[in-house]
Amino acid sequence: MPAVSRADARAAIVTGIAPAFAIFVFGTIYGATVGPQVGDDRTLLASVIVFSGALQFATARLLAEGASIPVILVAGALLNIRHVLLGAALRPRIEGSRVRRAALAWFMIDEAAGLALAAERAALVLFVTGAMGYLAWIAGTGLGLYGAELAELEDVADAVFPVLFTGLAAMSVRHRSDAVRTVAAAGITVVVAFVVPAARPILPAAAAAAVSLIGSDR
């Protein structure tokens, strides 16, 4: 594996700034809204050892609706199916021992995985952007628990993720057929999510898997 240059490290850090900012803002919202519900210690613990905004917010919502723990765990497993697809797509680009890959897997949030897939130094970008996201998430959660109010930035944070994912989709398109499948998957996701809201957690992964089986690469 080639040595990491300062330029590569700097580029990875710059790449991670926008997602880290959005993750930080959502972290404060998570801490501020969920802390009173489940307690400060458990809220912070969840951010430290779960490190999944989508799952943590979904869990808080399910708890508020009175869902049982088994239901929450099943929802969590379904929501996390996309990680398996992203990990499989990243696998050929991440070399090294199983221990190294297992360590990198900790940082494999959606944003870091997407940036890594589009980068030349996949492992470096995964680690740096994932670590920035991790620190931002914990810091945001902590500040939210202790009274920071960044709700006025929620609209901005709300907009960052779809922009980021759209950019990542555009960057990872290699052929015209990729673009067609991308648009098709977005359309399928919108229609099915509208008709069957309960399917939202697994829709992106299911739609992506379905369209990926179709057609050739041109």
Binding site: I72, L73, L85, A102, G114, L117, V183, A185, T189, L203
Partner: protein, 97 residues
């Protein structure tokens, strides 16, 4: 939420991340070829979910504007271009709302 519930969620999350990256063997060339197609539609699906929430309520005008701006910038196939397009779209959406 119980402590063990949180630990179980952590195990599920890390397990899903580590399964393909560290546990399963490297996929065959054919499977790899199919997997290479997955990221663009997966990210597009994640972006598409932001159009409306679980109750079918449309996202705010600035968010919709940001998404449109990012889509219009997508032919550049560059993250900075998407962020700039998204920022311009966000501002337009904020002005119009």
């Amino acid at each position: 939420m119980t402590l063990w519930g949180i630990v179980a969620l952590a195990a599920i999350t890390y397990g899903s991340r580590a399964l393909a990256l560290a546990v399963l063997p490297k996929p065959s060339e054919r499977i790899q070829h199919l997997l290479e197609r997955v990221p663009p539609p997966l990210f597009a699906g994640l972006a598409a979910l932001s159009l409306f929430d679980e109750d079918g309520v449309l996202a705010s005008a600035p968010t919709l504007g940001a998404l449109c701006g990012a889509i219009l910038a997508s032919p550049f196939r560059s993250l900075p271009a998407s962020l700039v397009g998204g920022a311009i779209g966000y501002l337009i959406g904020a002005v119009l709302s």
